[in-house]
Subunit: 324 residues, 2 copies
Amino acid sequence: MRTPSNEDTLLKRIARAFPASRSRAIALGIGDDAALLAPRPGRETILTCDWFLEGTHFLRDKHPARAVGWKCLARAMSDIAAMGGTPRCFLLSLALPPSHTGPWLTEFLDGLRRASRVYRCELAGGDTTRRSEILISITAVGDVAKRRALLRSGARPGDRIFVSGTLGEAERGLRHLRKMRGAVKSSDPLLRKHFYPEPRVALGQWLAGGRLATATMDLSDGLSSDLPRLCAASAVGARVDAVLLPLIPGAKKGEAMSLALDGGDDYELLFTVAPKNLHRIPDKFHKVCLHNIGVITREKEVRLHSEGESIRSLRRGGWDPFRN
Amino acid sequence: MRTPSNEDTLLKRIARAFPASRSRAIALGIGDDAALLAPRPGRETILTCDWFLEGTHFLRDKHPARAVGWKCLARAMSDIAAMGGTPRCFLLSLALPPSHTGPWLTEFLDGLRRASRVYRCELAGGDTTRRSEILISITAVGDVAKRRALLRSGARPGDRIFVSGTLGEAERGLRHLRKMRGAVKSSDPLLRKHFYPEPRVALGQWLAGGRLATATMDLSDGLSSDLPRLCAASAVGARVDAVLLPLIPGAKKGEAMSLALDGGDDYELLFTVAPKNLHRIPDKFHKVCLHNIGVITREKEVRLHSEGESIRSLRRGGWDPFRN
């Protein structure tokens, strides 16, 4: 047959980068009109999609291609974690300039493959096109036992509010990155959480399996944006105790507080626990600290309680692309 | 609670435009971290995603927003049709300039909702962001009875090759559109197939249900690009008889032939049928003509047989974003 066209060649390169797709999850992978997935009995399918766009979510000259590959899938894994689900497969929509189909693509696929292996989420298909800017859209598919999915809507007054990990590290990394001149070291510890976030998939599964959380979501836009969303979905309010927030150790207090409240991209889990189950929540889950930061209230307001200050409404300061 | 942020407002507008999502397909729709879909017993899940980008797939000033809404979903439905599947739900990733969140968005959602109703495919979720250009990525989910999906890989030498409908109308519409000055009439009959393609979902289901096709794909890039793909997947060749191609009636013969071979965006089905099943293929299926255009061959070449000319290799002339 004649030489395949460039788009076909690109698809083949992507398919070759994911040779391990031999599991029973994917009945049919790349190369047909669509992918086929065999659902597991007794489980519901989780579906989520996420933009990852040059200039909006990453910078071509600042973010290593490997980090772009890791992070575009990690963000989608975080949505599955927030539902308490098990990742199964993903679709990659990729638009690239011709200049980026060489080494950049190789490194991008390397980072993507690492995330795919760590989270056991196989590439099932996708779509490619040429574009002057790098555009990525990831659709991730997972599953969860019927009626066990973690929703945003179950928080009740009196439930305690928890977050995993430390808040604000990813945003601090982004600020650090913006100030940098010249080549970026992907191993810089200040950039680790911004480049290579670790979605809390195991934690989400454990919360769902034990019916431990009344409501759950992931922190992608920052606590001050995301907690009001959880409260709105549950028709409740919240009071957060500033002193209980897991701030970045060693940072200036004011800055650490603003990073913890408004910093996006942490991909930690935010969840609520009924009082009767509080004793079942450990201080750490698989080396990740779990912090009790406040309580769900009947009044539909989200308030921050700081020592020595009066209680104030939590101001929404997180990431919102449509805010002027 | 305080006024929701603009991104939340946009999501709510989209959700409100799809109020009918009350079926059992979607256990949980827009508004949580991800959507939940209840798989049907005995069926496999079909997954496909498609770019639909301003400047690449449509023009902001030429394509009515309603047609953009219809077509972005119709294209994904065509991939499900090509698998013989039943549409179930879709995810919408949408990036918009702030100038397009008013009337443009309303009309876009109107076209999208019409396609969603016609193909019974519910909006299950999505992602929105702000961007100077209009970017759309659609993920469509369908299902099909186990081991009944129509693949590209089953064509055998001696199978007859069929296409549905007429070839080249969408491309002719695009050429007509490019020449137009001023306002575009969305009702212009020359533009109908380019603006509002009708993916052959019922035909695909019928072929799959009756095990009638040995291989199937949809024609999105043009016969001269797509038939070689089907042949490559099946490790066979093909001979197409030019005189049997369903050309646009009334057009000049040379132009009609080039439109039929190289015109993209028709979203007709291309399928192969074993000789023993030929008598089961009618001339028309639900008012759509089915045309026997050639035969699958053992030699791995795709050739065009024209009257009065020698047989020549079919030159790939369809759409490929990565061809220079």
